[in-house]
């Protein structure tokens, strides 16, 4: 058996390493906490000649995404990274990238949106881009973020859609973790050579990109775009299978943890899933039938697969690290609850908004969530459908 090549890296360094191994044609990026280190380390690779990448230093994230769109339309394998306000500033360009079907890959180091200004983790940035047409992958750890980023290249280029890979700001981006990277050659062979669908530099085949489409055509363009997301789920699965063959690390649309015989389930994204697993282990020792579903692919939402997996449960708690102000619970909650609506014996689903602005997520908070879920399981009574966990009352 091959000796494992284990190294200690921070999440951001692991992402920069993956980008070095991917060696994209173009990176246009602007630094923002907590993503800064990705840009910083990657620019060192560029300066040292470790990559052949054209690194475009821009004056804002709006320009970063605009440059990425131009580069991708020209046929270049294109990457970037951002956080929070940076993603918010990219907003109008995100829709242009997805509508134009450009396979740009971006790491989003999740950070709370202003105001008040804050640099720490929550998911309001990525959730704000939920409907922008970008495929969203989420990562519990630096290893998962690294693995997701490499797979994202293959996914994006297979379906001609942009992909964002999410990982928690500071918790994952700045924590040192033992990770097992691939060899440079393995990454190169896995992603293969990029053959764009069409390229603006191909002067033999001129075309117009981004034209005006009014009442007579806009709807048909958007309808055909909507169809493209149906192709994503099988692609994500086959890319994961191929990835497992070279690494032994298995990924799917989501991860389940002790869910097979569970009656009470938790649904949570990213690093909090790690804390929740520890809580679940302890509750299992007390004989409680509890488990976890951690979404990996959030957009497009694997509706049928989530429905099948959660249908056996009696009570489900969804933990949302983002709020929808004036809406009906967090974004993950409204999706999960809606997915289960058509089941004849649908589970009770409640929402717990937690960890906003980097508020520490403790095991005690998650025990409290399970306590509340157990009360519902025993009594069938829901006192608070949507509640806030870890806030001073």
């Amino acid at each position: 058996m091959k000796t494992k090549n284990l190294i200690a890296l921070e999440g951001n360094q692991a992402i920069a390493l993956a980008m070095k191994q991917i060696d994209p044609d173009v990176v246009a990026a602007y630094p923002i906490t907590p993503q800064t280190e990705i840009v910083q380390v990657f620019s060192e690779y560029v300066a040292n000649g470790d990559v052949h990448t054209e690194f475009v230093t821009v004056e804002s994230e709006h320009s970063a995404m605009s440059a990425c769109i131009g580069a991708s339309a020209a046929g270049a394998r294109t990457m970037t990274a951002t956080s929070s306000q940076g993603l918010a500033l990219m907003w109008e360009m995100l829709y242009i990238a997805s509508g134009a079907r450009l396979p740009i890959v971006m790491t989003v180091v999740n950070r709370a949106l202003s105001s008040p200004i804050n640099i720490h983790c929550d998911h309001s940035d990525a959730m704000g881009a939920r409907d922008s047409g970008w495929i969203q992958l989420w990562s519990e750890s630096a290893q998962e973020a690294y693995d997701n980023l490499i797979q994202a290249i293959k996914i994006a280029e297979s379906v001609n859609l942009p992909v964002m890979v999410n990982m928690d700001g500071f918790i994952t981006s700045h924590a040192e973790e033992v990770i097992e990277p691939l060899e440079d050659e393995e990454v190169k062979n896995f992603i293969g050579e990029y053959k764009p669908l069409r390229s603006l530099l191909d002067i033999e085949h001129p075309f117009t990109i981004g034209p005006l489409a009014l009442q007579d055509s806009y709807f048909e363009f958007k309808r055909s775009q909507a169809e493209a997301y149906r192709r994503v789920i099988p692609v994500v699965r086959s890319v994961a299978e191929e990835f497992a063959k070279i690494t032994g690390r298995k990924y799917d649309l989501f991860e389940t943890y002790k869910l097979e015989d569970a009656e009470i389930g938790l649904v949570v994204l990213n690093s909090t899933a790690g804390t929740a697993k520890e809580v679940i282990d302890n509750l299992r020792r007390e004989g409680k039938r509890v488990g976890l579903l951690k979404p990996r692919l959030f957009r497009p939402l694997p509706v049928e697969e989530i429905k099948d997996t959660l249908s056996r449960l009696k009570v489900i708690g969804v933990m949302d690290r983002a709020d929808t102000f004036g809406g009906f619970g967090g974004p993950l909650f409204t999706d999960i609850r809606s997915v289960l609506y058509d089941l004849p014996n649908r589970p009770i689903v409640t929402d717990y908004i937690y960890g906003l602005g980097g508020r520490d997520v403790t095991m005690e908070q998650i025990y409290k969530v399970f306590e509340g879920l157990e009360f519902i399981y025993k009594t069938g009574k829901v006192e608070d459908l949507i509640s806030y966990v870890g806030v001073r009352e």
Partner: protein
């Protein structure tokens, strides 16, 4: 022009055959129609120079008429005509 269904749209917001703007019959946008009085016209071709839609038909250096399939009725030809040979007539009155 038969418009494609959503299943016939190319991937991405693209036009794959350049120079196809003439297939788009923009004449339907018009509310006022330029009408030429050839008796007044001196064939100076100011209208041809200024028309933003290449809708002035010229043959052998003579102004022959207007391409109503594409003319949007902007009225620039009527404004620039030095002998007032082009008048703008409301489509509904024709």
């Amino acid at each position: 022009m038969k418009l494609p269904t959503w299943k016939e749209m190319p991937e991405g917001i693209v036009i794959l055959d350049p120079g196809n703007a003439q297939e788009y019959e923009t004449g339907t946008w018009r509310t006022f129609r330029p009408v030429v009085d050839k008796g007044k016209c001196i064939n100076c071709l100011f209208c041809w120079i200024y028309c933003p839609d290449s809708s002035i038909i010229v043959k052998e250096e003579k102004m022959e008429g207007i391409d109503y399939v594409h003319c949007k009725g902007c009225g620039i030809c009527s404004k620039v005509c030095p002998v007032k040979a082009i008048s703008m007539v409301e489509e509904g009155s024709l």
